[in-house]
Amino acid sequence: MTDKVFDYYLEGKTGRWEVIIGLEVHAQVTSNAKLFSSSSTKFGSDPNSQVSLVDAAMPGMLPVINKYCVEQAVKTGLGLKAKINKLSKFDRKNYFYADLPQGYQISQFKFPIVGEGKVILDMPYGSKEVGIERLHLEQDAGKSLHDQDPQNSFVDLNRSGVALMEIVGKPELRSPEEVGQYVKKLRSIMRYLNTCDGNMDEGSLRADVNVSVRKVGSRELGTRCEIKNVNSIKFMQQAIEYEAKRQIEIIEEGGAVNQETRLFDTKKMETRSMRSKEDAHDYRYFPDPDLLPLELDQDYINNIKKLLPELPDEKKARLMNDFGLSSYDASIIISDQEISTYYEEVAKNSDYKLAANWMIVELFGILNKENKEIKDSPVSAKNLSKLINLIKDNTISGKIAKTVFEDMIKGNQDPVEIINKKGLTQQSDPKELEKIIDKIVQSNLDKVEQYKSGKDKLFGFFVGQAMKETQGKGNPKLINDILKEKLK
């Protein structure tokens, strides 16, 4: 895996191109109430049932900040190994839209709560560090429905005012795969920290994708376009591929890329210019006079740091060091906090590597087939652990274990019971095996001759016969060793 090399380049008519991508990820903060008002943040409620006077921008309304949202932003910043800014300010971003009742969004422009940080990606060609520019808190907007009525749009302000963390990444991503890994990593960190549920279907996580292209070897950045509000990794990747090719084509035909905002049309699978954003947006940022600067002291930050759970990268390092897992296996285990919890439960009492292998190959195979999450696993960690121990102590072979597993998934059955019921205990008594093998050798002297004179493939025949005689329960290693001895 580490022999692989980065190779996402696009061949144009005039040469080789590389793609520069920077993401602005919007993550909804997990909290009970909104950022500046006390209404609920629950998803999917009756329209306009979670809207306070402040959210609806009634005359005379004022924002009051939610302390938990501040903590969540600090936690996330610490998870991104970023600088926490002890002084940050809130600014108004002024523009008009139906889902923006105030006519401005309260955001942070000049002084965000979190500064530079980084994220580490596990790519097939090695680890890649991607820089984070900053993270700031801002209000989410409401939702407009355009397809309910031919003449009118309908506005639901439930989401208006929900706390968002905008995570601005440096333009250091170079391929759709890297983008996928970046989003997954961010999501994983925030889920570990419980600061964002990362549920892209519900819109808890979405991204604006900035794409530009340049000739390989060039040091300058090309003109970028921003693809707004993409809410799935697959769409992000498709949008990037389309957009990169579009830009390359324009440049190669002698034109110039317009810096603009675009949308990804998921039906046509192409990006197009956003009509409403054609006029240059002048947001007229200025400090929100209804709020005071946010000041955090070191004690506050330290207290949050103390309570942080183990993060994915730390866990991965620990799994590799203490449990001897490969980087690849460790990456898979840590990708989800629930998976890693399950793994550590299994590995508590059984062989680390077997545990990893069984989870990644057998268990995930079943989960994927049945479209289940680890939390709905048909096999408990305890039972999987038992199964692994039965293999390790030679009670059953790995092959038999697979059949046992097939029964285990039907109602989380105890493997010991299955083995006993079906009499699957491995035959590992060397004396017994020797007796059986002697019998086979005696009955197949002609084949023994043929094997001895060079037909190596016949070894498999003898193994097969031994397995048949033991009803598949023969300890494969012992059979192997004994046969080798006898057929010398």
């Binding site: 009970n32 049932s49 809207v51 306070s52 609806a56 900040i65 009118n152 400090p287 006079p289």
Partner: protein, 95 residues
């Protein structure tokens, strides 16, 4: 820095105020006289002065993460110019 018709048109667009010939003419006049008036500030040397955005000298109050009032839909929609039981209704937006 004087304001001309193009600037007035641009500002009206940003401020979402419909403008016509009459509006533009009187805005050009008034805005330029206000700008001339505020030019005096350039007499001052303010190079190292920290801007003052609030006279309040206290820490920002942070409230607890508690949901208050479960459903205010009726109050929220009560004053809507276009009545609808569930939504605010606006003329269509073309994306």
């Amino acid at each position: 820095m004087t304001i001309n018709k193009a600037t007035v048109k641009k500002i009206s667009k940003l401020a979402r105020i419909a403008s016509d010939e009459q509006f533009e003419d009187f805005m050009i006049k008034d805005l330029n006289s206000i700008l001339a008036f505020v030019e005096q500030l350039n007499e001052l040397d303010i190079k190292n002065i920290e801007p003052l955005s609030s006279v309040v000298e206290q820490k920002l109050f942070q409230r607890d993460d508690v949901v208050k009032k479960i459903n205010e839909k009726e109050d929220i929609l009560k004053n809507s110019p276009v009545k609808n039981e569930n939504y605010f209704v606006v003329p269509k937006v073309i994306e």
